[in-house]
């Protein structure tokens, strides 16, 4: 009975309800998308493993470390495996087509990153071919590369045209893995450097270290940094997570702005729904007075009003959530360069639901209170 009244009431003004529902759906959609954008920012952090440490030059990332550190780091207690690489910073065809590309020591690197799924054939052909490169699936799709293609990158930090053969494509074992990266043999990089710029050969941008137990991370990091204290190239070692968080912190200001904007959206939904409810209740003041005369309590009337506002927001919310999925795909196609990993998480949907419920309740409270407190005689006198 109650539900029937709620539905009938909610759709008494069809146009108004449809418009309000559409407004809520759009706002919920926007809120969900923004939440996903924030998640995408933290994707690198989410994908990092507690078993990996990153060592870099303590001055800043643009300075390098000597290759000779590798053996010293390997001798530290608790270190299982050491890999290394350089940020290459090359681009394909056009400078605006940005993607991450690294020169890495392939054997140890692949051992450290078991989350890259590569077929066995391709792994061997990548390891065997010094000019071979390993490319994420999304990146390969973006440029239409297939295994066996030859690819030329233009270096910005290391000048020249660099030739590669695409020998393997990786996919992520879970959703957080960035599938837009490009890896190639560090040896190829280093041999070329020896020829063109001998003074910068045998230098490594970063070491990635696999450790035995994550609990020991802090101690191992300290031990490694202590080894190179007061040397020409002091190191800074941190967990992969901290390293990735450092990148997130760099764009903190923008991140905060996006978070702020997502709160603004909630306020906008609230205004739209509250406005609709205020209008509906004002129009029905006489009706509620009649309800009271017959003997229904103020609480019953308040439940009717809040229930109606919940009904409207719920329908709008469900529409909005279901529209989030196709919208996220379209959005990630448009700005995929900025966000390699763009997935809607369970948390986002949960937050959506929380927002919907809060908005539905709070938009109904003020009009409900008004309808409850209006005196019968006054309410009956009111027309329209």
């Amino acid at each position: 009975m109650m539900i029937k009244i709620l539905i009938r009431n909610a759709f008494r003004h069809k146009l108004r309800s449809v418009l309000t529902i559409a407004g809520i759906a759009i706002a919920v959609l926007a809120y969900g998308l923004l939440h996903t954008v924030i998640d995408a920012w933290y994707a690198g952090v989410a994908a990092s493993s507690a078993n990996r440490l990153v060592t870099r030059n303590s001055i800043s990332l643009v300075f390098r470390l000597p290759l000779s550190y590798r053996e010293k780091i390997r001798s530290a207690d608790g270190v299982k495996i050491v890999s290394y690489g350089n940020w290459f910073g090359g681009y394909y065809k056009d400078e605006k087509d940005f993607f991450a590309n690294f020169a890495v020591e392939p054997v140890s690197y692949l051992k450290l990153y078991p989350e890259y799924k590569i077929s066995e054939n391709e792994t061997t052909s990548f390891l065997k071919n010094r000019k071979g490169c390993l490319v994420g699936k999304k990146l390969a799709d973006r440029f239409g590369w297939a295994v066996g293609d030859s690819i030329t990158l233009v270096g910005t930090i290391y000048p020249g045209k660099w030739e590669f053969v695409l020998s393997a494509v990786y996919e992520g074992k879970h959703k957080n893995v960035d599938e837009t990266m490009f890896f190639f043999h560090w040896d190829y990089f280093n041999e070329t450097m020896k020829k063109v710029r001998p003074f910068s050969a045998d230098n490594v941008g970063f070491y990635i270290i696999g450790i035995d137990r994550p609990e020991n991370a802090a101690g191992i990091a300290e031990a490694i940094d202590a080894m190179f204290k007061n040397s020409l190239a002091e190191t800074l070692t941190e967990t992969e997570k901290a390293f990735q968080l450092g990148f997130v912190a760099m764009s903190e200001a923008i991140l905060k702005a996006v978070q702020l904007v997502s709160f603004v959206i909630i306020v906008i939904i609230l205004i739209v729904v509250a406005n609709t409810m205020v209008m509906s209740v004002r129009e029905r003041t006489a009706e509620y007075a009649i309800f009271k005369t017959i003997g229904f309590s103020g609480g019953y009337i308040a439940t009717l009003i809040i229930g109606e506002s919940m009904m409207i927001t719920l329908i709008g919310g469900i529409l909005g959530i279901s529209a989030t999925y196709p919208a996220a795909i379209a959005f990630s196609n448009a700005v995929g360069t900025y966000f390699p990993v763009f997935n809607i998480t369970g948390k986002t949907i949960f937050m959506d639901a929380v927002v919907i419920i809060i908005v539905g309740l709070s938009a109904g409270i003020l009009p409900a209170w008004r309808a409850m407190s209006v005196r019968i005689s006054e309410g009956l006198r009111k027309i329209g």
């Binding site: 108004r16 923004l34 800043s60 643009v62 400078e95 605006k96 000048p159 904007v261 406005n275 027309i383």
Partner: protein, 388 residues
């Protein structure tokens, strides 16, 4: 017309709560729209004003920023002796060989750190940047471990005040001056003797060469000569163009974000306002009938309701812009991913943005009012008079 205007205006006044709610919805949208465009504008202005039209920058080919570029000492000397370099009144070349590297510094009041640009300068560097003014202390002596810091750096980073010492590259560097470079990228930099930095960072090459051009044709002549010289794989460009390029990626990102956000928002706000306008029409059915009976035409009714919603849009636009203009006093710092270094800039409100935001608000008002206004104008006189 005057009458209609007052009719619309009074109507908005009598339904104060709904008017305020609707207008504030629109105000929020205008605010977000203006804020994000102001951010992109601020970023771009900051970087463009950093450059000067008289200066020419020389970088290694295919490096898009100074940090990536490497110029050997002998190559730098070749460029220095080119005839395009202007002379000052004492007959010296207005030319500087600069070194640009990044270091990580700790921010004040938080444990996070950021990349800061360290610029090794030559004697002419300061003279070539008239925006840079010393606000405290003095210039560093060449050949010593003395540095001067930009005012944004002094404000935001630990140990960067006048008289403090910053430790990097295994040396302690004394801050002997603070410079104010206005709203330019230099305010986020640290300057010191290039030759000292080269020793400390063990990097025996410069990053960029900057000089004042002899005349407007200098750039083309120099570019042609560099092109023909096999020793020089360089790009020469006007300083302004160089800095403009550095802001492109971030500004584009901010604009995409801003436009897609406001597009979604505005649909929400227009729908909210449409609800209000439809109910305004429905509530006043008998009024509309009376007006029609008195002799007002359909067009007049249409105009009255359209005017009402446009006034709503105008109110929203004014409120939104008012709050957006307050943002101008806030300075934001974020990492520019193109240069990988921290940059401080302000929200900038320009007449163009005011115009755009206002046009946007009025347009929202128009769209939310047009359908309800049509409904009002098409009402049948007799039927609407009968409505209670």
């Amino acid at each position: 017309m005057r009458l209609l205007f007052f009719y619309s205006f009074r109507n908005l006044l009598t339904r104060r709560v709904t008017t305020a709610l609707t207008a504030s919805g629109m105000a929020l949208v205008v605010f977000v729209f203006a804020a994000i465009i102001m951010l992109a504008e601020g970023l771009q202005k900051t970087l463009i004003e950093t450059g000067s039209y008289n200066n020419i920058v020389v970088l290694r080919k295919s490096s898009s920023t100074e940090v990536q570029s490497i110029i050997e000492r002998y190559q730098a000397s070749i460029i220095e002796t080119q005839p395009e370099v202007a002379l000052d009144e004492n007959g010296r070349r207005v030319f500087a060989k600069e070194l640009v590297v990044l270091i990580t510094l700790q921010k004040k009041g938080s444990s996070s750190s950021a990349n800061v640009v360290i610029r090794g300068i030559g004697n002419a560097s300061v003279d070539m940047r008239p925006q840079v003014k010393l606000s405290a202390g003095r210039l560093p002596l060449m050949g010593t471990s003395e540095i001067i810091v930009g005012n944004s750096v002094a404000k935001r980073f630990k140990n960067a005040g006048l008289g403090d010492s910053i430790f990097f590259a295994m040396r302690s560097w004394k801050v002997v001056g603070i410079f104010d470079a206005g709203d330019t990228g230099f305010s986020s930099e640290i300057w010191g003797d290039a030759n000292q930095f080269m020793q400390a960072f063990r990097r025996n090459a410069y990053s960029s060469l900057i000089f004042r051009a002899q005349d407007d044709a200098s750039l083309q002549k120099l570019q042609r000569r560099i092109e023909n010289d096999p020793r020089l794989t360089f790009d020469a460009m006007i300083e302004v163009d160089y800095y403009k390029k550095q802001s492109e990626m971030m500004a584009k990102f901010l604009r995409i974000l801003g436009i897609s956000l406001t597009a979604i928002f505005s649909i929400g706000a227009v729908i909210g306002a449409m609800v209000t306008m439809y109910s305004a029409v429905a509530n006043r059915t008998s009024e509309i009938g009376t007006l029609r009976a008195l002799g007002f035409g359909r067009v007049n009714i249409l105009m009255a309701f359209l005017l009402e919603s446009i006034i709503l849009g105008f109110l929203g636009g004014c409120t939104g812009l008012f709050f957006a203009s307050v943002l101008q006093f806030i300075s934001v710092s974020t990492t520019n991913f193109q240069t990988f270094s921290e940059l401080a800039f302000r929200f900038r409100l320009s007449p163009g943005i005011i115009l755009k935001a206002m046009a946007f608000a009025l347009l929202m008002g128009f769209f939310c009012g047009i359908l309800p206004a049509f409904r009002a104008s098409r009402m049948n006189i007799v039927e609407s008079l009968r409505e209670v």
